[in-house]
Subunit: 549 residues, 2 copies
């Protein structure tokens, strides 16, 4: 099935906003219904493909026939940009400036190499396309000449499974649920469940260093990767002969996070684990985000480590985003530190937040799960936590892939909603949290649309944690232009407070300039040197990750 071209996921699973939420948006944030409706697919003025006939013939030959090279308007629209809120706003407005000239579907590594050769001959740029779920402009090449989208969906096989070593070799176009199904037939799981799980692909996870909701137990995707094959314009790079090695710099770590700028990932060898026999997710209440953060830190540092560990701040807890199924049933907060629209109207103030909800989930054998859960429960109590039982855990697990659907309904209702994320060492987490909230709140308030800023910690390490922010406000007249200064202010605040520009969304084009600041001029230059060696003509995802030459 294809994803909704103008939004998220399966159109049949759209999540209409409860009336209470629509009312709250109006009263709290001043959200007004949009005056215009989004365009329909048929209304979008897609220019004819600029692909020269000779290039079309070569590409068709490279992928075994013309049926695997698509130039029709709908296919090209469906491969235009990713799924950030600005991406959705643009496509809903019919803006197809970034439309590919063609969509090419290779069946394997050798066909990818052949497509790369063809692109080099015909001076075409190429954007690798997995699930199309980038939220950082990773599918929007900066170069304005013609480019092809390389859709990897035909490369969706399990190539090898080694039950002794517990490794599997997967093709990049496999979506995560398909991959889980193939592994489950052998009793194994990957354990990678990001919010994009239902649509994102194995190759995309590797190219962007994805991190899933069970990262406390299964690790990040980049920690699962044991080997990668990369097809580049200059040939093939094969990596990963052992779990760990002292044979030089780790070339796998040069490919992970390269976001299609160095080559096309054509196979990924991953660590797999037995399907857990037992799952137990529970909710915990903490008096404050600071208290909850200290509790998470203690589990991350001293164990026992849960499989899932997350903590919503006061605002996110109150809004109920931690359990999207229950959204709208809690009383809502006012925007951060600001009078709400209702207050401005003289209405009464909504109740203040009164604490935070955490979810701690354990998976494994029954015995091990029980031991870890009981020890963790002792520690969480010791840190001031109050158990809320299984219901919040169940609700979180049930609604875990629902939130992106809500965004479409919020956009329809005239609200703006976007997420962004970072990570830092534990001692910097409180300052980073405050700085990003402040940057978003100040910028959007100054622009006349005071936001609601929510946050959670969803990935913990011994030495630090991620922070994931959700921002809701009125759209403003030109929503993308309205949001851009707030996003830039948040990026600046992240770097100033010692965070990384992305914990798991990646760099794309949206974070590129901040990434270069984070890596430093010399670090960025070292990567540019690698790119020039692997992709001398600069065909691959120009402007993504690094500035185009």
């Amino acid at each position: 099935m294809d994803m909704l071209w103008s939004g998220w996921g399966d159109p049949a699973r759209a999540q209409p906003l409860p009336d209470t939420v629509a009312g709250l948006l109006r009263d709290l944030l001043g959200v007004q219904p949009r005056g215009t409706r989004p365009v329909t697919l048929a209304e979008i003025p897609v220019p004819p493909s600029s692909l020269p006939p000779a290039a079309l013939r070569s590409l068709s030959a490279a992928v075994g026939g013309g049926e695997h090279v698509r130039t029709d308007a709908e296919t090209r629209i469906r491969h235009t940009r990713g799924k950030s809120t600005p991406d959705l706003l643009r496509i809903r407005d019919g803006d197809v400036d970034d439309v590919p000239a063609a969509v090419v579907l290779p069946a394997g590594h050798d066909e990818v190499l052949a497509v790369l050769r063809t692109c080099a001959q015909h001076h075409l740029a190429l954007v690798p396309f997995g699930g199309g779920t980038s939220v950082v402009g990773g599918l929007t090449p900066g170069r304005r000449s013609a480019f092809v989208a390389l859709d990897l969906r035909r490369m969706d096989r399990l190539l090898a499974l080694d039950p002794v070593s517990r490794t599997a070799t997967l093709q990049p176009g496999l979506r995560a649920p398909q991959a889980e199904e193939l592994l489950a037939a052998h009793g194994f799981t990957l354990g990678h469940f990001p919010q994009s799980y239902e649509w994102a692909t194995i190759g995309g996870f590797a190219a962007t260093r994805s991190s899933g909701q069970a990262s406390a137990g299964y690790g990040r995707f980049d920690e699962m990767v044991l080997g990668l094959t990369l097809a580049t314009p200059e040939g093939t790079l094969d990596t990963g002969r052992a779990p760990r090695s002292a044979a030089g710099p780790d070339l796998r770590q040069l490919i992970l996070g390269s976001e299609g700028a160095f080559g096309v990932i054509t196979s990924v060898t991953v660590r797999i684990r037995p399907v857990p026999q037992f799952r137990r997710y529970e909710g915990w209440h903490f008096a404050s985000f600071a208290d909850g953060t200290a509790a998470l830190r203690r589990l991350a540092q001293d164990g026992p480590r849960p499989t899932v560990l997350r903590l919503s701040d006061e605002t996110e807890t109150l809004v109920g985003l931690a359990q999207p199924d229950a959204l709208g049933t809690s009383p809502a907060p006012r925007p951060d530190g600001l009078p709400s629209a209702r207050e401005a109207d003289g209405s009464s103030s909504p109740p203040r937040p009164d604490g935070c909800t955490a979810v701690a989930g354990f998976e494994g054998t029954e015995e091990d799960t029980a031991y870890r859960r009981d020890r963790a429960a002792e520690i969480l109590r010791d840190c001031g936590g109050t158990p809320l039982g299984a219901e919040p855990g169940r609700r979180w697990a049930h609604g875990r892939y629902t939130t992106p659907y809500l965004r479409d309904s919020l956009l329809d209702a005239g609200a703006f909603v976007e997420t962004l994320e970072t990570a830092a060492f534990w001692s910097r987490v409180p300052g980073l949290y405050a700085a990003v909230r402040e940057a978003l709140t100040a910028t959007l308030t100054e622009a006349g649309t005071p936001p609601l800023v929510m946050c959670h910690i969803s990935h913990v390490y011994e030495n630090g944690a991620s922070l994931y922010f959700t921002v809701v406000s009125a759209q403003g007249d030109e929503p993308v232009a309205h949001w851009t200064p707030a996003k830039h202010a948040a990026n600046d605040a992240i770097l100033a407070a010692g965070g990384t520009i992305s914990h798991h969304h990646g760099v794309g084009t949206d974070h590129r300039d901040w990434y270069v600041r984070e890596a430093g001029a010399l670090g960025a230059d070292a990567l540019r040197a690698v790119k020039r060696r692997l992709d001398p003509a600069g065909l691959l995802n120009p402007g993504v990750l690094l500035p185009a030459d």
Copy 2:
């Protein structure tokens, strides 16, 4: 204290060979006492330093005075090559072909940058020198022009310690015991205990991706590193703003394992852990190396994970190398599958190996250690293990840094002894084990010196393990030339059997050609592109890691 110039460690701690061992070497391996004694320090014909006076003045200015630039013979001899057996054989023969023109001792990052500028001006190559313990030719630049050794011993401070994030920033010249002492004052440990522990440095651990004997619990050194600062001829590279990030390829992983070829590591931020309250090391017996390997794999994959986990094969168990203190007290085996010298003489055959010894050690809180130990003991029993109690664990821990001392005595006695190591995915471990043994045995036997080949597993992962081989034989007339074909055959066998050319010793010059085969031409070229950007004149450790341009 300086290490013995012609061998290992503190001269006062020399380990004389028991007479029984000397007898066994003669009877089993045909080892004959050497006809010549090693040279003395004073006898070595060190040529005068070729450093031009202008360069000497510039270097002195770069490091705050002439007392930090040494050109005397003894200092230069002490910085000639590392501590592989060929290195020792060469220096014991008075071969100082690879002597540096000067030894320079910078006090900090800025002085390192100044030294690099001076080297660029005067066309001097530079070899970073930490503990000098490389066993892979990592201190032997391939270029025959003058070079300086950059001894980092003055950079031995703890720069920062963050108890909340549990991170510490260390200077590269800190030796491991000093680092542990500085951290222990705050209640923390690094948990990195390689065999070179007493002499090796923090910078060297990072540059070579060292792995310690407690890697099952504390991880490899490259897994402990959260940030690095690199001084290069083109400026400074600073990495590590968060434990994990999706901001592009991981630049830390490009510096780790770069072996001084990309720059000089001037600070390392590492994960630290509380000093364990409790330690419990125990021995286990398995009927065969295969049985023991299966048991280790089960613990590595399903847990609970010990802190230390190692398994000696039948030969190593019988020789008793697992407990160096007890060396010579067991009956000895014959060389692999070959008649021993005694058998060839018509003497009776020594007893066959009858099983393997493993050590499983647990560190942590008393409660957690007890839980993990008891669960692990169940599993080890279930896998056919028989508990041997605390004595083998105690003996292993007591003798863990002793083995390198034995090498000096073995060389004195006319024996040749060397180690090499690799790693692979679990399913390839048995084939790799057989192939390396066979390569070493066949090559040395053909050369007239049938060896004793011993092996242990000392680093385990979910998906694979390391193999560490020790080879003992007679020296042959020209010991280095005698050994070289065996080493090359072992390297070839490692690659052919799917292993990595090094799990924790590194690449240096000895593994370079096999490393390039492992990385592939394009992978090696990508790294060469990085080197050219950071070190355009090729000053840094030329010929180490990658072929000199």
